[in-house]
Structure formats: structure tokens, C-alpha cells
């Protein structure tokens, strides 16, 4: 052993001196064993012997001092040897020896030498052939190792070891002495302690082996070789060189793989090593051997058999410690410090530089949705009253405990009011404060004097006109005030009032009908309109009922009660034509069509179409009109239902009538009263042309002249006429078509008294005034009778007028004349 190593070892041992002391005894045993082995080996391998002797002598003194160290070093070598001798036959003896050592710690070391001898003996016995083979093996390995490392040094070390062993042997007695001392000091060391001791030595040893890197090649001391510390190399039949030298090469590996080992029960070998050689089974031991081994081997308790190699493995101190730690359910790694100072890496305290660079997750600052759901459920339950807060519960409990009283004087509870539909409380009017007059002792000025008394009595019949509702009376003291004599009666009346009084506010609007009438525009805004009378059309002998302009405005036609229709020249008031129809004419209208020369006149229940003649209007137009109307169109294509036929009949015109100008006559089933408002409107418009006499007498004569008449209006194209008969019920509106001479009843039901019907001058609309309402019907789609617009005009019922549009001025020239 080189001196620096021993120095190192010495330092280590000093660190844990006590352990060293304890272990020294055991090591001494080992040394002994080794020594015995070596001596044995000397015989076979003689070539190094001389060297060893020399070294022995040199190191005598040192060995004695550093016995522990040397022992350890030796042990190192022994380990190597153990490793090498995986297949050594006598390894079990070694194990036994160990067991013996541990189990009987008290037993004196004197036995050991004997044991060693026996062991060696037994190993010798095993068989010579094997030994020789082993030896050759070791030699081979040695050679290998020699290739790798500087041989000289190695051999030197080996020699030193040998000499050490020898010296150990020499100093055996001294060691034993020491051993005894130690035993005396720690006689009661238990198994556990022993384990501890063992581990302590191991721990001490491991750093040593690591640190010793410099002079020695790594291959000798690397870690895996050192860990199976306690596996002793088979003592016998092994070369000393081999044992210390080729530690890593010597690893015996069973290459059979993961097969059940009982397959090899019948074979002498267990498997094969890397070189394909058989790994022989270790010698089987019987019960007695087992027992003996148990008795002898101190390491027996920690010896287990490796099934793959079939060898006994003595668990190292580390292994034991590991097992113990697992048993105690502690962290298996002994180096793990359970009580390290805790470093709080992730604190809630915000650091300046965050440990993690990524930003906070969104969910970390969003309120939880599930929680929100839960809360909302709870809130809902609270609102619905399914759940109650503690406070409410407490209140309820308190309320239960309190005494309940029935509200005797509560006149009506709310539920009752709700049931009866009384939602609004009408407070009684606040009574005025009592005045001086109501005092029992009013000031004299409040008392009624004679005159006032007289007045009071005068208003006996109408007491509400009196100044007071009571008679101020003076009493000398309150005591003398009598009870109110009418109390009972008035209370009774009051009850009657209450009984009959309505208890709800009537939501009635107080609106004057006049307010609903739209405000009339000022006459200035309505200009141009007639302002002055400029012409009078004189000639009618009776009330003029209607007048109309021709489309150009050159002529005016008027119908009168005297049974005539007169055609006037507008500009001069010259009567150009008079057509006597016999019955009073209530309505006349010129056709709007420029291509026709026709005047429609309603005479009684008949609707007559007149041609004013060739000299009025255009000749050609008058002629064509006559031609058109001379012959009625073929009527076979017209199917007229009974209802229509009875309502209106197209009559043939007699020659006499023709000469007078009548071209078409349509008799209606019902002569009906004319609508006067329409009449008024006409008069108002043509006032300038009508004699003032009739206008003045109009209102007075209204009833008198309620003649049997019909009302009608032209369609813009002049082909259709709508006739209105207020008494016609469902057939009060009839539309006549001139070109085909047929009639239609546009409405099946009467909604009321039809007062007036009008066509829109340019667009296909029909306006009907029924009762108080005006209806508006589109004619574009045939059969569409739906009322689109419904205009309610309460004041102007019965008259529908259309504002003339720019496209077509109704009374073109004539209106402008004004």
C-alpha cells in the first residue's frame, strides 16, 4: 500500500474513529482469512514470494500502527477477489465465516484461525481440476489487465499486499488483543448495530476509493467494483494477483436470460457466462451444513442466494440499510435529507422578476362560471321564496313565537280589494278646518242677525244655497251643547250614499265634439275661390238642385225642381238649351269624357243620359255620341243576375224622348232621398251661379223638398256611373257601365246608410260614404271589395269631395273665372 493511501485512510478513520474501532475487529478476521488464503496461494504461485517477503519486512512497523487502514486496504483487495471468485467453490465457507462473525459477535477470535484452516482445507478438498482451470482463468485475466495498466506498479502493489497479509498474520495476536478491548467496550452490540457499523465502514470506504484517483488506475477502483463490498472472493484456489487485479473483467454473468431456473435443476451448471462456458452450480449443502453455517457464519442472516448464479450473496450494509429504510417506509436513498431547509419557490408574494415569463391564465382572473351558476340558482331560489336566509328564518321563528292578533277593525284587506277590482283608493275630500262659526261659542259677528235669519229661513227649500250648512248657535258652555239631533238620519243617509256610490274613478274623457273637428284654414289660404258673385243664371222656375260644368268649362248644366235641365253658356249666362224631363231633377253631371257629349241627370228614380245637342260643345262629338247610343249593344253576352236586374233596368228610349235629348234611361228599383249635405256642398260651390233666392230658402225648404231622388257620380273615363240610393240597403250602390249597358252591384252588404259614392278622377278608386265613415275601395283588381282605408269624419259625413289634382282640373275654366 502506498504511503499516501494509508495517510488518506488514516484521516478517514480518524473521522469516524469509533466505527473504525468496531470494524477493525471484523476486518482483522478477514485479514486473517486472507492471510491464510494467501499463504495457501503462495504455494502454487511462487514467483512473487521473495518480493512479498521484502515488503513485509519493510512495513512491519507501519502495519501495526495503521492496522485498520491496512485491513481496509486488504479488504479492498478481498472484495476484488470476491468479485473475481463468483464461481469459486469455497465462497460459501467465506460466507459462513462472515455469518459467524456477525451472529456471534462475542465469540472470541481464536476460533477464526481454526475456521480458516478448516475452510482452506475444505477448499483443497473440492477438486484439483477445477482449481487449475480457475487458475488459468485468472491468469488470462491477469494478462488482460496487464495489457491495460503498467504492470510493474501492479505487481508491486500485489507484493505489498502480500506482505501486509503476512504481517497481519504476524500481528494476529496483537489484533486479537485490540479486538478484545473493543468487545469489552461495546459488548452488547445488536444485529442492527452491527449493520450500522458495517455501513459506517462502507461509507468510510467509498469516498476513499473515489478519491484515490491519482497514482492508481481507475480500473482498479471504480465504483461498481467496490459496492459489493462484502462479497468475499473465494479464498481458495484463487490467484492473489487475480483477486486484486481484473475486477471488472471477472464479472460473471449468467446468459441464460429470463428462464425459470428450475430448468437447470438436473444439470451441474446454472448457465453460461459471456464466453460460453458453463457456470457451475455451487456445491449443494445439506441441512447440517446449513445449520453449521448458520452457527458459524456471522453473516448468515444476511446471506441470500442469487438464483441466477446460484451463489450466496451477502447483503451489503447499504442493502441492509436500504431494506431497513423501506421497511420503515422512509425514503430509500439514505443520502436524502428529509429535513432540508424548505425553499419557497412559488410564494404568493409578487416578485420583481417573475419566475415564469408567460402571462397569467385568463381563467385566473375571470369569475368562475360554475360558481356563478350556483349563485344565481341560490339567488333565484331566494327570490322565489324557496329558500330563506338565516335572517329570514330567524325572523319567522320570532314571529311564530309572538302572539297573533286578529285585526278586528281592518275594514278591508288588500286581497279583498284586489278581488273586487278596487285598485285605486279614492281619498275623501279633505274637510275644511272648523271655522269660528262652528264654535259652540262663536263671536257675535258670526251669529246670524235678524236679516240674515230671514234670508236663512227664506232658503228653507233650497238649503244648499245657504251660507252655512249649519246654524251658528251660541251656548254659554260646552256642557250645554246638545247632541246633534240629525245625527242618526244623516248617518243613515251617508251609509246610503256609500252603498250606492261608485267606488272607482271613471276614466271618461270630456271632449267637446267641436274639438275633434279639424281647424278650418283661413280663407286666404284657400284662394283662389269664389269671392264675388259675377253672374246669375236665370231661368229656372223652381229650386235648382244641382249644377255641373262641362269638361272644358264652356257650359254649365243645372237640374232643377221644375223638371228641367238647362245648359248655360258659362261666360255669359245664356241659357242655350232646356230639356224638360217632367220630374224634378235632383242631380246633373256632365260626363268627364271629352269624347262624349252626355249629361247624366237623376230624375226621380230614373237615371237619364242626355245629349245636349249639336250646337252645344263639338258637333262631331255630339254626333258620335248619338251614334254610339242609338243602338244598344248586343246584350247576349251580358249575364245579369236577378238581384241586379231588379235593382236597375235599362229602358228603351222612346222617339219622343230621343227628340228631347234623352239617350239612355235607367230605372232604379227604389227612388230614394237625396243626401242634403251633398246638395249643400254643390250649392256652396256654385253659389255664384245660382239665384240667391233659392240659396236663402234652402235651409227652410230642406224638409219640404225631400224628393225621391238618387245620387250618382261619373267615373273619370265617362264609361261608368256609380249611383247611390241611401234607402237601397244592400243594393244602395250600383255601378252602371254605359258602353255595355249593364249594371253591377259592387257590395253585397250594407254597412249603414250609404250617402255618397265617388270615383277617383284619375285612379281606380271608389270612395263610399257610409253613415259616419268613408270607405275607400280599389277597383284595379276585379272583385276586390276590401276596404283599404277607413276614414272617420263625424262632422262631414255624407259628403265626399276630392281635391282636384294638377293633372286634371275638375272645373277647369270656370273655376278660374272667379
Amino acid at each position: 500500500m502506498p504511503p499516501f493511501r494509508s495517510g488518506l485512510n488514516k484521516r478517514k478513520t480518524e473521522d469516524n474513529s469509533k466505527v473504525e474501532e468496531k470494524s477493525s475487529y471484523k476486518n482483522a478476521n478477514e485479514v486473517n482469512l486472507l492471510g491464510e488464503l494467501k499463504t495457501e496461494g503462495d504455494n502454487t504461485d511462487s514467483e512473487h514470494e521473495s518480493d512479498e517477503q521484502d515488503s513485509d519486512e519493510e512495513q512491519d512497523g507501519v502495519l501495526f500502527d495503521d492496522s485498520g487502514d491496512s485491513i481496509l486496504d486488504e479488504k479492498d483487495q478481498i472484495d476484488e477477489g470476491g468479485n473475481e471468485s463468483s464461481e469459486l467453490t469455497d465462497s460459501e465457507d467465506n460466507d459462513d465465516e462472515e455469518e459467524e462473525n456477525d451472529s456471534q459477535s462475542e465469540s472470541d477470535s481464536g476460533q477464526e484461525s481454526g475456521l480458516g484452516k478448516t475452510q482452506s482445507g475444505s477448499s483443497d478438498d473440492s477438486d484439483g481440476t477445477e482449481e487449475t482451470r480457475k487458475r488459468t482463468d485468472q491468469k488470462l485475466m491477469k494478462k488482460k489487465s496487464k495489457k491495460d495498466i503498467s504492470k510493474g506498479k501492479d505487481t508491486k502493489i500485489e507484493k505489498e499486499k502480500q506482505t501486509e497479509d503476512l504481517k497481519n498474520n504476524h500481528n494476529k495476536n496483537a489484533v486479537e488483543k485490540l479486538q478484545k478491548q473493543i468487545d469489552a467496550s461495546s459488548i452488547t452490540v445488536q444485529k442492527e448495530n452491527a449493520v450500522v457499523n458495517l455501513t459506517a465502514t462502507d461509507v468510510a470506504f467509498l469516498p476513499l476509493s473515489r478519491s484515490s484517483g491519482g497514482p492508481l488506475p481507475f480500473s482498479h477502483f471504480h465504483l461498481p467494483d467496490l459496492i459489493p463490498l462484502d462479497i468475499l472472493s473465494p479464498p481458495k484456489g484463487t490467484d492473489e494477483y487475480e483477486s486484486g487485479d481484473t475486477s471488472d473483467e471477472e464479472e460473471k454473468t449468467n446468459t441464460v436470460g429470463e428462464v425459470p431456473m428450475h430448468w437447470y435443476n438436473d444439470y451441474p451448471h446454472l448457465g453460461y457466462d459471456l464466453d460460453g462456458r458453463r457456470i457451475m452450480k455451487p456445491p449443494q449443502r445439506d441441512q447440517i451444513d446449513e445449520f453449521l453455517k448458520q452457527c458459524e457464519d456471522p453473516d448468515f442472516w444476511r446471506t441470500v442466494r442469487d438464483p441466477t448464479t446460484g451463489q450466496d450473496v451477502i447483503l451489503s450494509k447499504e442493502d441492509l440499510e436500504l431494506i431497513a429504510r423501506i421497511k420503515e417506509s422512509r425514503v430509500p436513498n439514505s443520502e436524502h435529507n428529509e429535513f432540508e431547509p424548505w425553499i419557497e419557490w412559488f410564494t404568493r408574494e409578487v416578485m420583481v422578476t417573475p419566475l415564469r415569463a408567460f402571462p397569467e391564465a385568463k381563467k385566473s382572473f375571470l369569475p368562475s362560471k360554475s360558481e356563478q351558476k350556483k349563485i344565481s340558482k341560490i339567488v333565484h331560489a331566494l327570490k322565489m321564496g324557496w329558500m330563506k336566509t338565516r335572517k329570514q328564518m330567524a325572523e319567522e321563528r320570532r314571529a311564530k313565537k309572538e302572539r297573533q292578533f286578529y285585526d278586528l277593525w281592518g275594514s278591508t284587506n288588500e286581497e279583498e280589494e284586489q278581488r273586487r277590482g278596487i285598485h285605486k283608493h279614492i281619498p275623501a275630500p279633505r274637510r275644511p278646518l272648523p271655522s269660528h262659526a262652528e264654535s259652540y261659542n262663536p263671536p257675535p259677528e258670526y251669529l246670524l242677525d235678524k236679516r240674515e235669519m230671514k234670508e236663512w229661513n227664506k232658503l228653507d227649500e233650497t238649503p244648499w244655497k245657504r251660507k252655512y250648512t249649519f246654524l251658528p248657535t251660541k251656548y254659554p258652555s260646552l256642557r250645554e251643547v246638545p247632541s246633534y239631533e240629525r245625527f242618526i238620519r244623516e248617518r243613515f243617509l251617508r251609509c246610503l250614499d256609500l252603498y250606492l256610490a261608485p267606488r272607482a274613478i271613471k276614466m271618461r274623457l270630456t271632449i267637446n265634439p267641436e274639438d275633434l273637428v279639424p281647424k278650418l284654414p283661413s280663407p286666404r289660404d284657400l284662394q283662389p275661390f269664389p269671392t264675388t258673385e259675377v253672374l246669375q243664371f236665370k231661368g229656372h222656375t223652381n229650386l235648382v238642385r244641382s249644377a255641373d260644368f262641362d269638361p272644358t268649362g264652356q257650359y254649365v248644366v243645372s237640374g232643377s225642381e221644375d223638371g228641367t235641365v238647362k245648359v248655360w253658356e258659362t261666360s255669359t249666362g245664356r241659357c242655350l238649351r232646356t230639356i224638360d224631363l217632367g220630374t224634378s231633377v235632383c242631380r246633373v253631371a256632365w260626363t268627364p269624357s271629352q269624347g262624349l257629349s252626355l249629361i247624366a241627370a237623376a230624375a226621380g228614380s230614373r237615371l237619364l243620359l242626355l245629349n245636349p245637342g249639336a250646337d252645344i260643345g263639338a258637333h262631331r262629338v255630339a254626333e258620335t255620341t248619338d251614334k254610339l247610343l242609338e243602338e244598344p249593344p248586343p246584350s247576349h253576352d251580358v249575364v245579369v243576375d236577378e238581384r241586379t236586374r231588379t235593382a236597375a233596368q235599362w229602358e228603351r228610349v222612346t222617339p219622343e224622348q230621343w227628340v228631347r235629348g234623352v239617350r239612355i234611361a235607367v230605372a232604379h228599383f227604389k227612388p230614394v232621398t237625396q243626401v242634403y249635405l251633398k246638395y249643400l256642398q254643390c250649392l256652396h260651390f256654385f253659389r255664384a251661379f245660382l239665384t240667391s233666392k233659392y240659396t236663402k230658402n234652402l235651409a227652410r225648404d230642406r224638409e219640404r223638398y225631400a224628393a225621391d231622388t238618387i245620387e250618382f257620380a261619373w267615373h273619370g273615363r265617362g264609361d261608368y256611373l256609380v249611383v247611390t240610393m241611401p234607402d237601397g240597403a244592400s243594393r244602395s250602390v250600383i255601378v252602371h257601365q254605359l258602353s255595355r249597358r249593364r249594371s253591377q252591384l259592387p257590395f253585397n252588404k250594407a254597412k249603414g246608410l250609404v250617402q255618397c259614392a265617388l270615383f277617383h278622377p284619375t285612379r281606380p278608386f271608389l270612395f263610399v260614404a257610409v253613415g259616419l265613415d268613408s270607405f275607400f275601395f280599389p277597383l284595379a283588381t276585379k272583385g276586390a271589395k276590401k276596404c283599404i282605408t277607413h276614414i272617420r269624419a263625424p262632422i262631414h259625413a255624407g259628403s265626399v269631395g276630392l281635391k282636384p289634382t294638377k293633372k286634371r282640373r275638375w272645373n277647369n275654366g270656370s273655376a278660374d273665372v272667379m
Partner: protein, 420 residues
């Protein structure tokens, strides 16, 4: 204030454009409430000194600021807002002498139209007849021929032996008549067909080659007024024996939207028409297109143009007579004459005086106007008992008017021997 004004005096200066009545332009101080008659007296007194030749006192009219003095000087000054501090220049001229009623010619029906020339008076009547009267008021001829009321008549030419005139009627025709004056027989020379509705007015061009008609069918038609039958009329239309030959219009001027109430020639190529559609149109007859348009705000019943003053007067239903300038591009009424009580049906310029015209209204009045006196007419020629339908001053000596009372009234204008 009023009394103060009455008390005040104004300095006036008399000026005139009539040299024979010229007076020295010394200012005179007169009372402010002086009347026209008083001024006349003052002036006549002055004239006596200057021109002792003039025996009779002359009636004068006074113009103050372009307007005829009708009321007292004071009122006129106040109305016009003239300063009384300065000397007021009063222009005076001889007053138009009052026309005197001459005759009343009875007709069978309403007299719808009248035109006089130097010797004869032509009237149209509602009984479809045309009448010719002498200027003295003697009925010469009654011409039936139209089938509807005659609405317009006009002389075309007048010779010693033969007179040609044209008449328009509501029967949509205009007939060109030739009247043999000596034989007193009339012949329907040409029936002009082309209107679709009644003819309302007729005007003959100054050179008498053409005449124009306005009708209710909104058209104005131009016709050749020659009696010869050179123009091409289809033979089948010519074959109507009762009306003689037919004639078609040279041009039809379309543009009015309502009836054409009056037509009037400005010169041989230019024509004026007025309509019920509130529009006065001036047509170029050669091009057949409209040149100027004056838009009024009332329907025009009659319009007349005077070459002397180059202005148009119109009649409307709102009792106002309006004066337009055909040259102005703006539709501005230059003057409004209001005295009629109702519908004014007819107006007629004087052929000799640029400032005088006649108007006839439905209030039965015929009024003689001076253009510088918008409020007051010079004279009211009353006498009609019904609507006056027409008036004429073609003969400067005769003021004729036809009325609904079946009469034609003739007023004789004393010929004033001056013209301005």
C-alpha cells in the same frame, strides 16, 4: 291735421304741351283743397289774358306726376306724397269731350259682338243672325246663316260697292260674306271649317289678307281672307250647297290650354291671342310659332292692343282691367284700372288717342278710360240694362256697345281736335 292741410297753400305752375293753350309759367299760389273745376277757372282766366282769341272757356284736365287729377289737389298730393314746399308743376291738356248718347238699336236677341267702320255697324246676335246698320242707326240688313249664336264679326274690306266681312259663331264655322252695298244683298262667299268648337273671336290683319279666329277648342286658326277660291279645298267638302265653298285654315296655332277669348293683329305678321288659361301669347304667323308669352293670374276674356301706345289691355272677371307691355319679358301688370262692379267682358282701344280705351262690363256699364287715371274712368257710358257683352271704338266718332238687353247703344264722341 286735416284742417291744417286745408288751410295750407301750394304753389303751382301750369305747363302744357298744347301750344295754343300755353300760359306763362309763373307760379301761382292756390289753396291746397282746390278742385279741378277751380283750376280750370284759374287757367281759363289766365288764357283770356294770353290768348284773347279763344272765346269759350276750355275744359282742361290736369296731370300731376303722370296721373290725372280727379279729386282735389290736396288729396292727390297726399296720395302721391308730393312735397308741398316746392312748386308743383301741373300739366294740363284739353279734356276729352263727353260722348253723347246717339242711338239705341233694338235687336231680337242678345247682341254678342259689334264692329263699326266709317259708315256701317256690323253686329252679331244670339239669334244666329248678323245685322248691318248704318252709322246713323238705320237697320240695313239682317243676315241669317249661322246655326248658333254669332260670337264675333269683323270687317275685312269696304269699298264703295262691296263690303266684305267675316263672322264667327258657336257652330264652329267662320263665314266670309260679301255684301253688295248698293244692291243690299249679301252672299256667303266662304265657309271656314276647321275649329272643333265654337269660335269666340275674329281679327282681320291690317292688310286684310288674313284673318285669325280663336276658339273654344284652344286653337287659333289663320285663314286667307280672299274671296277667290284659289286654295285647295277637297271637292267633296266644297259640295255643300247651303254654305257655298269651304275653306280650311292656313295654319292652326296650338298652344293655349283653354279657350282662346280674343285675337288681335299687331302687324301683318304678328298676332296676339288671349286665353282663359291666363296667358297672353304673341305669335309669329309666318313661322307659325309663339314668340312671347305673358302669364297673368286671371282668365282673360278680351285683349286689345293699340299701335299708338304699344300696350295691351285685358279684361277679366275680377272687375279689373290690366295693362301689359308686350315688350317686357316680365309678366308685370303695368297698370290696373278698377271701376267696374263685376265681370269685364270687353275692352277696346281708341284708334286715335293713345291714352283712351273703352271697356264693357256685366254691371251694365261702358266706361271710357284714360290710361293715366287708374281709379276713375273719364266717362261712364250708362244706358244698358243688362250685361254688356261687347263694345267697339273702331270708328273714332262712334262708341258702340252691345248688351244682353238686346240693344246696341251708340255714343257719339265729339271729335276733339287734338291727339297726344
Amino acid at each position: 291735421m286735416a284742417t291744417e292741410v286745408i288751410e295750407s297753400q301750394v304753389q303751382v305752375k301750369f305747363v302744357t304741351k298744347q301750344e295754343k293753350y300755353a300760359v306763362p309759367d309763373n307760379p301761382f299760389t292756390v289753396q291746397s283743397n282746390v278742385l279741378v273745376a277751380d283750376l280750370n277757372n284759374v287757367l281759363n282766366a289766365l288764357l283770356k289774358d294770353v290768348h284773347p282769341v279763344l272765346g269759350k272757356p276750355v275744359e282742361f284736365d290736369f296731370l300731376l306726376c303722370g296721373e290725372l287729377l280727379c279729386s282735389s289737389l290736396n288729396e292727390h298730393i297726399q296720395e302721391k306724397g308730393i312735397s308741398t314746399e316746392d312748386t308743383i308743376e301741373l300739366e294740363y291738356f284739353e279734356r276729352f269731350p263727353a260722348p253723347s248718347p246717339q242711338d239705341c238699336l233694338m235687336h231680337d236677341d242678345w247682341v254678342s259682338t259689334v264692329q263699326a267702320n266709317s259708315n256701317w255697324i256690323l253686329t252679331g246676335c244670339y239669334d244666329n243672325s248678323i245685322h248691318i246698320w248704318t252709322a246713323k242707326g238705320k237697320h240695313t240688313l239682317a243676315i241669317p246663316g249661322h246655326t248658333s249664336p254669332v260670337k264675333a264679326v269683323s270687317w275685312v274690306s269696304l269699298d264703295r260697292n262691296q263690303a266684305v266681312f267675316v263672322s264667327g259663331s258657336h257652330d264652329q264655322t267662320a263665314i266670309l260674306w260679301a255684301w253688295d252695298v248698293i244692291g243690299n244683298s249679301v252672299e256667303c262667299m266662304m265657309t271656314c271649317r276647321g275649329h272643333e268648337k265654337g269660335i269666340e273671336s275674329i281679327a282681320v290683319s291690317p292688310d286684310a289678307k288674313y284673318f285669325a279666329t280663336g276658339s273654344w277648342d284652344t286653337n287659333v286658326c289663320l285663314w286667307n281672307s280672299s274671296l277667290s277660291d284659289e286654295d285647295s279645298v277637297p271637292s267633296k267638302k266644297r259640295s255643300k250647297p247651303e254654305h257655298g265653298k269651304s275653306r280650311e285654315p292656313l295654319t292652326t296655332l296650338k298652344g293655349h290650354r283653354e279657350a282662346v277669348s280674343a285675337v288681335q293683329w299687331l302687324d301683318n305678321k304678328t298676332m296676339l291671342s288671349s286665353g282663359w288659361d291666363h296667358i297672353l301669347k304673341i305669335w309669329d304667323c309666318e313661322l307659325g310659332g309663339m314668340t312671347t308669352e305673358i302669364i297673368g293670374n286671371k282668365a282673360f276674356f278680351d285683349a286689345d292692343w293699340s299701335p299708338l301706345s304699344n300696350s295691351i289691355i285685358t279684361a277679366s272677371a275680377d272687375r279689373h282691367i290690366r295693362l301689359y307691355d308686350p315688350r317686357s319679358q316680365e309678366n308685370i301688370v303695368k297698370m290696373t284700372y278698377t271701376s267696374h262692379m263685376g265681370w269685364v267682358q270687353s275692352v277696346c282701344w281708341s284708334k286715335t288717342y293713345s291714352t283712351h280705351f273703352l271697356s264693357a262690363g256685366y254691371d251694365g256699364q261702358v266706361k271710357l278710360w284714360e290710361t293715366r287715371s287708374p281709379k276713375t274712368p273719364l266717362y261712364d257710358l250708362s244706358g244698358h240694362e243688362d250685361k254688356v257683352l261687347c263694345c267697339d271704338w273702331s270708328n273714332p266718332a262712334l262708341l258702340v256697345s252691345g248688351s244682353c238687353d238686346n240693344t246696341l247703344r251708340i255714343f257719339k264722341a265729339k271729335h276733339a281736335n287734338h291727339g297726344i
